[in-house]
Each structure stands twice: as structure tokens, then as C-alpha cells.
């Protein structure tokens, strides 16, 4: 997904099979099945979780996306939706939950706090869960409207439909580095410029 794994050096496995009509049909089938039956792992912490529940309820209805079966056990989940702010105390928990999810898995960062820390630029808050787990779709909002969350889900479905099983790198697990961070501090600093990360807890210096 564009980021080198935190392990030793980039690993590129070249598939011996070249893409052809059969692989594209198989891809289509697998991706269609995966995209339309994503079982969410609702990692709901705060206000966004309430909007997530409202999205799952009868007015907005996630069941039409195949997502009404919430999987609170990560072992059976496909997509981790982090709905709400993530304090540092909760960070190891979400990392563990993410690690417990089997591939193929995706994640949606719902809300401003999960995406970047939101209004909580404080000593307690992780300034974006992408410092801890890889994120596929960011849904902005505080909280995002249910329509916004559904747009994010549809973007994820579109992303999934563009995948291919020949790309081994795609489903490779990106483990945390020895410092407990998914992204290394320089990358975090670069990504958070020019607005900066005034909390700077993950600053390399």
C-alpha cells in the first residue's frame, strides 16, 4: 500500500503467474464477494460510535451493504472501523485487535479524532490511528454523517474491487517497529507537515 514494511528491507515477491483473463475473472469474483459482505469490527470509542450505530439502524441501514453482521470478535471481521477518539491507553488495544484480525482485512478511520486526533491535541490522544494501524479510508467529520460513513464504505468497496490476488504485497502484514510505531517518526513528522503535530509525542528528535 505504498509504505515499506517496518521489517528488514522491502520485500517484493514476483508472482510467476502473469495476469490474464482467468485471473481477472477470479479477481472480480473474489473482490465482489469481499466488498459486498464486509463484516465490520466496530471499534467504537466515542461519539462516532453513536453515529455508527445510527448508520446501522433502520434509517440509514448498513444491511444493504452486507454489513449488518457486526463482528465484535476480530477473528471473524473484515474491516475495522475505528469510530471515535483513540487515547494512548487504548492504543495497544487497537493494535492487538488489528493483529488478531486475519487477512484480508481493511480499516476505516471514522471521524476527525481517529484520522488525526481531531480537536484533542492533548497529551492523551493518538494523533491519528494511522500511526498505529494501516488505514485504508479516512472519513472526515465530527462526527461524520451516516451518509458520509457510507460514502467511505463505498470508497472502500471500490478499493477492494481494484485488488488482485497476484499482488502478494497487498495482503502482507505490516508489523509495528521495535519502537511500537507503525510509521517511523520521520514519516509521521513529514506527513503531519505543514500543519504540524503540536503534541509531538512521536517526534523523532
Amino acid at each position: 500500500m505504498g509504505l515499506t514494511p517496518a521489517g528488514p528491507g522491502p520485500v517484493t515477491e514476483v508472482s510467476t503467474m502473469s495476469p490474464n483473463w482467468v485471473t481477472t475473472r477470479l479477481d472480480f469474483l473474489a473482490n465482489w464477494a469481499r466488498a459486498n459482505s464486509l463484516w465490520p469490527m466496530p471499534f467504537g470509542t466515542a461519539c462516532c460510535a453513536i453515529e455508527f450505530m445510527a448508520t446501522a439502524a433502520s434509517r440509514f441501514d448498513l444491511a444493504r451493504f452486507g454489513m449488518e453482521r457486526m463482528s465484535f470478535s476480530p477473528r471473524q471481521a473484515d474491516v475495522l472501523i475505528c469510530a471515535g477518539r483513540l487515547p494512548f491507553k487504548l492504543a495497544p488495544v487497537i493494535r492487538k485487535i488489528w493483529d488478531q484480525m486475519p487477512q484480508p482485512k481493511w480499516s476505516i478511520s471514522m471521524g476527525a479524532c481517529a484520522s488525526s486526533g481531531g480537536i484533542f491535541d492533548t497529551y492523551t490522544m493518538v494523533q491519528g490511528i494511522d500511526t498505529i494501524i494501516p488505514v485504508d479510508v479516512y472519513v472526515p467529520g465530527c462526527p461524520p454523517r451516516p451518509e458520509g460513513l457510507m460514502y467511505g464504505i463505498m470508497l472502500l468497496q471500490k478499493k477492494i474491487k481494484g485488488e488482485t490476488f497476484l499482488d502478494k504485497d497487498l495482503r502482507q502484514e505490516h508489523l509495528v517497529g521495535p519502537d511500537g510505531l507503525f510509521l517511523d517518526p520521520q514519516t509521521i513528522d513529514e506527513l503531519s507537515e505543514p500543519f504540524g503535530n503540536s503534541v509531538h509525542q512521536t517526534r523523532s528528535a
Binding site: 494512548f88 495497544p92 492523551t124 521495535p178 511500537g180 510505531l181
Partner: protein, 183 residues
């Protein structure tokens, strides 16, 4: 409402350092050493009967010279009266005051929070300062240290007494504690 203040002065005299009314709330200042006595009297005295503990908190002012104030917010449900009791703790000395857990069970978590946030120790609290061994600042520091192999140190665990009977590798892990080596 000056009625409780008058009664307090009558009972405790000089121990009531001062009182004021701010925005309609009556506030009474007591020395930290006598806080428990005053609060117990306020709860049990038939004319006062402040049976409901609304809140315990602390205030630290921006002016570093001012002492830290521990604030007890009391309410008498039957008499529909409120009272705020404050004790000033000098920052140069130990921040300690007696716990009122024996008077109101609701003080349990409230005092733990004041300990975590301000470092005020409550003598006689069932859990402090042992289980809350580390203040919030220390917990934050440990969390930020991001040591994925961190374990609880021996002092925090309730199995400290059983240390001798534990398996060897468990003993090793416990000895390394929170600052153990990163594997």
C-alpha cells in the same frame, strides 16, 4: 446561606479559617489537618445533615504561589442546602489530607481521581497510594515509552508475596519490570 457557617464557627471556632460567598455558593476554608473532623461533623450533626457528597476535586491556580485547594462539594438532600468546603495545601509540603471514604463511599473514585490528576494523597483510602502506585503523569510516561515488552513491576502486583513460588521464567519477567529490555 450563612447558617452552616455560623454553626461551624460555633463548633470549631478558629478552625474555620475563613468563609465567603461566591456566585451564591457558600464556601468555607478549613485547615487540611482538620478537614475530616469538620466534614464528619457536617454529615452527622442533626442540624446540618450533609448526607450527599456531590464532588471532590482540587484546584491549582495559574499563580504558582497560591496553594493547591482540595474542594469538597456537599449537599443536604433533606434540607436542600449546598456547601463547599476547601482545604489549602501548601505546595512546599506533602500534599496529604485525610480521606472521607469512611464518611461517604462515593469518595472512593473521586479521591483516586484527585490523586491521579493532582498528586494529593488521601490518608486512609482503601486503595491509595498502593494500587494507584503511579500517578497519571507516571502512567502517561510509561504508556508513551512504547515498550511492547513492558510488564508490571513487582511492586504493583498482588502476587508479590507469592514470588518465591512462581516459575523461574515468570520471576525473570517480573524482575525486569517496566524498564526491561526490549526484545
Amino acid at each position: 446561606m450563612t447558617a452552616p457557617v455560623g454553626a461551624l464557627r460555633g463548633r470549631f471556632g478558629a478552625a474555620i479559617l475563613r468563609d465567603r460567598v461566591s456566585c451564591g455558593d457558600t464556601i468555607v476554608y478549613v485547615p487540611a489537618a482538620r478537614a475530616h473532623e469538620v466534614l464528619a461533623w457536617l454529615r452527622d450533626e442533626p442540624g446540618q445533615r450533609f448526607d450527599y457528597l456531590t464532588d471532590i476535586t482540587a484546584v491549582e491556580y495559574r499563580d504558582a504561589e497560591r496553594p493547591l485547594e482540595v474542594v469538597w462539594q456537599l449537599r443536604s438532600l433533606a434540607r436542600r442546602a449546598d456547601l463547599r468546603v476547601k482545604a489549602e495545601l501548601d505546595k512546599g509540603e506533602a500534599l496529604e489530607v485525610d480521606s472521607v471514604w469512611d464518611l461517604w463511599k462515593g469518595a472512593d473514585w473521586l479521591e483516586r481521581e484527585v490523586y491521579d490528576m493532582f498528586g494529593v494523597t488521601f490518608r486512609g483510602h482503601p486503595d491509595l497510594p498502593l494500587r494507584g502506585h503511579f500517578s497519571r503523569a507516571e502512567q502517561t510516561r510509561q504508556a508513551l515509552a512504547a515498550n511492547p515488552e513492558a510488564h508490571y513491576s513487582l511492586a504493583e502486583l498482588s502476587i508479590a508475596e507469592a514470588y518465591d513460588e512462581l516459575p523461574e521464567d515468570m520471576k525473570n519477567r517480573l524482575r525486569l519490570g517496566e524498564r526491561g529490555e526490549v526484545r
